[in-house]
Amino acid sequence: MSAGSARTGLSLLSPAFLVMAATLLAPVVALVVMSFWTQSGFEIDRTFTLDNYARLGEPGEGVVWYGIRFPFAYPVPAVLMVKSLAMSLMATICVIGVAWPMAYFLAFRVTRYKAMWIILLTIPFWTSYLLRVFSWKIVLGFNGAINSGLQWLGLIREPLEFLLYNPIAVMITLAHSWIAFSVLPIYVSLEKIDRSLLEAASDLGDSKWARFRRITLPLSMPGTIAATLLIFIPTVGDYVTPTLVGGPGGTMVGSLVQQLFLKQNDAPMGAAISIVMMLIIAALVGLFLWAIGYGRMRKRIG
């Protein structure tokens, strides 16, 4: 196409791009800059320093959490980071495991009312995240649906206290809140599979299971990987779920960032922790994609 059409394209794209640059790029740059400043009392000291990062890595007495030693002078961020990663990872694995058969059902078994099934799965995707999380508080709470229901049925005398405010509650809630996001990407890649490939495999003598393992599963990988990342990355920094159902034992790194910015008035430290969190997530995602050979896979599937 001509240079003129490239120019028209750019001028059409630029308003949206400029808004995104101002509201997305500028904030990230500002966070990076701020992470090199320090808080002294109510003032922010704008001299460039690596103090915040040094403090995050400073060795010290540390704490022991689930048998893991964190030998830092300020161990809270490291502990919460590891805990958030572990909890998100667990939630992501559960979500993918539960969502996969559903996506398979949608792609291969549903013939009539497909639009209805898809809308049914799309609605939770768009309804308030806050309300989805809050509904688990109603389910699991001390005075919640499970406890009062079991008491009513006479199965328990006292409310079960272990249901809410712990890491398990956070993981269940995270899994439930994000599950709607994972069915559709997996479904799309399953739907795209050329059915004649499956027939060919059967004709050439593959059993159902071999056919599934050698064709369906590998070809579903782009969607499955997309779903995995789409859930894992945002949940690491989630703030709503740990705040509402986590209690003191279920806090995550997002809660710490929120406290540093809004309560403890140490925004530079909060910025440094946010940056470190993003770098760790990016490194893990890169490692994951490398480990499963994503580049080669993309070339093969196209």
Binding site: A6, T8, G9, L10, L12, L13, P15, A16, F17, V19, M20, T23, L24, L25, A26, P27, A30, L31, I44, P101, M102, F105, L106, A115, W117, L120, T122, I123, P124, W126, T127, S128, Y129, L131, R132, F134, S135, K137, I138, V139, G141, N143, G144, S148, G149, L230, I233, P234, T235, V236, G237, D238, Y239, L244, V257, F261, A267, A271, S274, M278
Partner: protein, 267 residues
């Protein structure tokens, strides 16, 4: 669907029950004549909805959310449409990289986006927090969604219609207004609806960027701590759930209609 007993079908039913079960408790308890969300149910009442309507700060928050939602959905769709056109119809240098950048809000944890915006607004621009700052944050979240919806719509119909229009002597603007826009209309409508829902339901960014005027989710969050406010909160939450569901169904129907009318006989 096969008539025989299908294990996957049973699984799918349980999946949907798990998906909706917790959420449906909210409307259930909001109609229950009790002050706690507990079984056994005591009887049907609408008084929680009356209490909610009488709560003026709740109604103010609702108004704020509606204003922000409508402004954001119109602005972000208006920005996303030309951008989607540029990326599907023109060869923009570096288009792929620009698109990836613009899709980042879908994967970056929203708390990072929120604190970043907070730093820019308070430290660099020195602006007070208000509904404007909330709207700026929502705009950043909505533009990628609007672009995704519009790009798939623009890729979905036959480009030869636009070429025919140009060959018949229509200019770029005239082609856009008389061919592209009518064909893209289902995408535009579903982008408007979905951007509205995103903005209306968004919590984390609003929570950080809200000033004295809070939006509905922020107000709701502040109420969750008080057990005596629970019934009103349940009533409000139920209305939001029902409202969002209606909008999503509408958006999907509009989108599906568009697809169906372009490819007759293919659903």
């Amino acid at each position: 669907m096969t008539k025989r007993f299908d294990l996957l079908f049973v699984y799918a039913v349980f999946f949907v029950l798990f998906l909706y079960g917790p959420m449906l408790l909210m409307p259930l308890f909001s109609l229950n004549d009790g002050n706690f969300a507990t079984f056994p149910l005591k009887g049907f009442t609408l008084r929680h909805y009356g209490e909610m309507a009488a709560n003026t700060s709740m109604m103010t928050a609702l108004k704020n959310s509606l204003i922000v939602g409508i402004c954001v959905s119109i602005t972000s769709t208006a920005l996303a449409l030309p951008a989607a056109l540029a990326l599907t119809r023109y060869r923009v240098p570096g288009g792929g990289a620009i698109l990836s950048f613009m899709m980042l809000p879908l994967v970056v944890p929203s708390i990072v986006l929120a604190v970043g915006l907070l730093v820019v607004i308070l430290r660099i621009l020195g602006l007070p927090l208000s509904l404007w700052t909330v709207a700026a944050g929502h705009l950043m979240l909505c533009i990628p969604f609007g672009m995704t919806v519009l790009m798939s719509r623009l890729e979905g119909f036959d480009k030869s219609l636009e070429e025919a229009s140009r060959d018949l002597g229509a200019g770029g603007w005239s082609t856009f207004r008389r061919v592209t826009l009518p064909l893209a209309a289902p995408g535009v409508i579903s982008s408007l609806l979905l951007c509205f829902i995103i903005s209306f339901d968004e919590f984390v960014i609003s929570f950080f960027l809200t000033g004295t005027d809070s939006t509905l989710p922020v107000f709701l969050f502040s109420q969750l701590r008080f057990p005596n406010k629970l019934p009103g909160t349940l009533a409000l939450g139920s209305l939001i759930l029902v409202g969002s569901a209606v909008l999503v169904i509408l958006a999907e129907i509009v989108r599906k209609r568009g697809v169906a009318s372009d490819n007759p006989g293919d659903l």
